[in-house]
Assembly symmetry: C2
């Protein structure tokens, strides 16, 4: 049973890590890549945040474009959390990412799912709908950072 | 005439910088954003390079997916070369970017155009076609780095 659970976890991780064709020349590149993808994602997410929090005027087209970029970039970081990338560069990734891979995958899947909902909400052109979806997506960022990113 | 040329240059720059809605909290964020977007782009570009140079087996689907990501990410950095981001962080951007904005824009446009051709080439599923397009796109990276990135 333990063996089965382990195989299931590994299989899940492989699916999570797709496209597995990623080729990082060295661990530092993988770390820089995942940080870069998450930073770009965060900037576009933040532009939506500025709208839903009233810091900039609501613009449905801009919100939708940014949300699409959030969805695209939210798919990228995961492949770069492979074996051998636990340390190096200026990573703040906690060791638990590699010891709780199924749980970490759950957090990542949840974040991606909420971002897809965010993009759908942005396409409605309704600021309130967008705000609700933004809040739900933001919660997934925080949950994963609290669990797996060092302060 | 000089005034007109100046207005034309500024108008061109604004078009280049679209979506102008980007909101960077501070210059360092803009610098980190453009570096992050270019790094992510470079990694996906490099995965195609590994194929066309025979370091990894050719896989048409993987090439096409990576090329699409190259196209998407190649649109991002430009808005982050705004006024006030000439220095800060660990930028290697040369001052000429801000004194030769029309020329810099030309380099950026050319790179984006070649990346679109790269994605089209990737969709043919023909490794030789992809290799040719990859070479042309790589030339635009080098040209811009030679002109506008400090060693």
């Amino acid at each position: 049973m333990k063996t089965f659970a382990c195989i299931a976890a590994v299989t899940g991780l492989l699916a999570f890590a797709a496209p597995a064709s990623a080729q990082f020349a060295k661990p530092e590149d993988a770390i820089k890549y995942r940080q870069s993808a998450l930073f770009v994602m965060g900037q576009h997410f933040g532009r939506i945040g500025a709208m839903v929090n009233g810091r900039v005027p609501f613009d449905a087209k801009v919100a939708a474009d940014n949300a699409d970029l959030v969805v695209t970039t939210s798919k990228l970081p995961w492949v770069a959390f492979g074996p051998g990338t636990e340390s190096g560069g200026n990573t703040k990734a906690k060791a638990e990412i590699w010891t709780e891979q199924a749980k970490f995958k759950e957090y990542g899947d949840k974040m991606q799912a909420e971002n897809v909902k965010l993009a759908a909400a942005a396409k409605t052109g309704n600021a309130d709908t967008l705000k609700t979806a933004f809040g739900a997506a933001a919660d997934t960022c925080k949950a994963c950072h609290d669990a797996y990113r060092a302060k």
